[in-house]
Symmetry: C2
Subunit: 419 residues, 2 copies
């Protein structure tokens, strides 16, 4: 791993040599990456696997087009959520039968929050942190409104989360890797603390899965959910997934009791009966095209040796921070992510007073990260396709944009919504 | 329109002549239909439009692959749910801004049921009918469980629905076209009755949209939802849609308050504030691949003249019933759908003691319908690609299967789950 102190001595040739030695280098070729683009936004929308359009062609032209309705059994569409869920399980320290692909992260968080609260009916509090990914807070607020006072959202800053877990807390809802800062919560410690106080945990793994070490069962986590379109490379708005620890499956039920979560959906009886395992958290007919695309991304991730993948994630972000510190000093940037690699996810946030305009200028120079209000630029590092040399080019262009004030042009200052 | 009395005099040549005169005949070529297959299951999974794989190639290889994250604005991914929702609105008598594509039908029914119940907080009852599509009952049962006694599901048979609407009913939840029998509820009359008693209506349009006349606003319907994978030809597990009458939009909110239903999602503030219009019923990141495929199907539907489309739906099912009655008499079949076309949807259910085995034998002979427990075969008629001659071939093969007892073979009697 690159040490920051060495960064100022590094040359592009050094980084190109590291890319040649990268045990994962062959996997870059499995992705479509436009020529000359330094894509550091895989933490927002992962790159397209070359296989994905081929697979979609197979699922549409061949399966849907030719085999039509019988594809549900013949091509195991019916088993897709659990099949792909079992694959994702291997990336997040879960066992087979503990993960299922379904709906969106928001809907899954809703389902799991309700399930968790119903396991602790005498405890009204959902505990989270201010500045958590807003979606997670919104979902909790929606549940609060729905409960007529039965549920209460309590916020405590990251350093006070553990002490805020008391006997009124039903569930601790946290994003494992913070969407802005990339700060990593200690899943095992917080979960242990929650359990000691009789509370449960629900982890949003959106910025974690496949990018940082996650071991849900080692941490004895209760519930988790995450999206498919970031590091899993499942495509825009890819289906999400959810995790329910095996020990909770028989005693929890989704509030959205759709027919494909029924124990015998094709009996078409009037009375709901939950499927025996994780399947009870399914609801409506599942998005076969989306799951097919997601499976390609997950399969690619599983082709990489896990340790090499996690080492490279860390090495890339570590290198980026070191290069920024050594080559962009005095240019108005502040590293807004933890400097300590083990508590940082696979993206790096840089603060700059003109962050929006600087990011637009970078994009115009073919370095793609993203902006998060009010003053952060995010750069995500995807171990399967980003190169050490990408970090070099990104930082050199960033330095040039700042030194020449290239961002200070009207077209870079006009804000519009982006994801 | 074919009169049943004339059916016994009809010949295949007559029907082929009707196909030649069909004003929609050119649209059949817009779909992939395997040679020699009589596909009468478009009410379960609509056929593949030829354009869909092309569009998916464009959205994946070009948009996702080359333009990556900026596609959200550049290719208007961000506006897709409302853009396609506005198109679906034209098929169901809704106005622009009243329909949005999102989630699954189950999740949408959950959102709308909760929204409806919260508009009538002093009324505990969701009224539906026994034997309604079980999913809808399951979702209501889930909400009942969630409400700790605050919500109660009451069932009344179709002929007693109107008299069962009393001052305790918050919302009437009905599937407009029954999934088994194809019986059509009188949306305007039931809605008027509900409104006269202070109740609201939520219509499941899954078997209706694009297949039978639906005019939500003429009926003054309050809420509706439906799927994208049947007559809309959006593909397996296509995204669903929901309708909220404009007059309710400012006073209702989804229980699943995800970030893309926020008024300013990219401000990333901690407090939820619902988007001003129908957008507040969106939740998580939406399935761009699925919406792209759905849009192709909806666009095709809009290419057909609406009256021709609805006339042909009715003529096809009318012809099928007439042919069955005239050519399969005495073979153990019973028409389990209303005989009166205006109160029948675009599929026909036939009852037979060995329905499962008969359907398997039909499928082996390349006539595809589906089975619904315990004893029904369903045949769906899709006006854009089914032909009058298809009805002839289906009925001739059905007659042969029954006359020769071709269904009475072990391989046709082994049940497995299908959708």
């Amino acid at each position: 791993m690159i040490q920051p102190a060495r960064a100022s001595a590094l040359t592009l040739a050094d980084l190109e040599a590291m890319d040649r030695d990268d045990p994962l280098r062959a996997l870059r070729g499995a992705f479509v990456l436009p020529d000359g683009l330094v894509y550091l936004d895989g933490n927002s929308l992962g790159a397209l696997p070359r296989e994905t359009p081929v697979r979609l062609q197979e699922v549409t032209a061949r399966q849907w087009g030719q085999d039509l309705i019988r594809s549900w059994t013949e091509h195991d569409w019916i088993g897709a959520p659990q099949r792909v869920g079992d694959k994702i399980a291997r990336l997040i320290g879960a066992a087979p039968g503990e993960v299922v692909v379904s709906d969106s992260t928001s809907v899954n968080l809703f389902k799991l929050l309700v399930a968790a609260c119903r396991l602790r009916p005498d405890r009204p509090v959902i505990l989270s942190e201010p500045g958590n990914f807003p979606n997670d807070l919104y979902v909790a607020q929606g549940l609060q409104g729905l409960s007529n006072g039965g549920v209460e959202l309590r916020l405590a800053s990251a350093d006070r989360i553990e002490s805020a877990i008391d006997e009124r807390v039903a569930v601790v809802l946290l994003t494992h890797v913070h969407y802005k800062s990339a700060a990593v919560h200690d899943m095992a410690r917080i979960t242990a603390r929650a359990h000691a106080r009789g509370a449960l945990t629900l982890w949003d793994l959106t910025h974690s899965a496949a990018a940082v070490p996650v071991d849900l069962n080692a941490a004895q986590a209760d519930f988790a959910a995450g999206c498919g379109y970031k590091y899993l490379n499942g495509g825009p708005g890819a289906p999400a997934y959810l995790f329910v620890a095996q020990r909770h499956q028989a005693t929890t039920v989704s509030p959205i009791t759709g027919w494909l979560g029924h124990a015998r959906p094709f009996d078409f009886v009037d009375e709901y009966a939950p499927a025996p395992g994780i399947g009870r958290f399914l609801a409506g007919s599942y998005p076969i095209l989306g799951i097919a695309a997601l499976e390609v991304g997950v399969d690619l991730m599983l082709r990489a040796d896990a340790q090499s993948r996690l080492d490279k994630s860390r090495a890339l972000s570590e290198l980026f921070v070191a290069l920024v510190e050594s080559r962009c000093a005095g240019l108005g940037l502040e590293v807004a992510s933890p400097r300590d690699a083990p508590v940082r996810g696979s993206h790096v946030a840089l603060r700059h007073a003109q962050a929006w305009a600087v990011m637009q200028a970078l994009i115009a120079r073919r370095v793609v990260g993203d902006f998060r209000a009010p003053d952060l630029m995010r750069f995500g590092f995807a171990p399967l396709y980003n190169r050490y040399a990408d970090c070099w080019h990104a930082v050199e262009i960033l330095r040039d944009v700042l030194q020449t004030a290239a961002w200070d042009r009207p077209e870079f200052k006009q804000r519009q919504a982006v994801t």
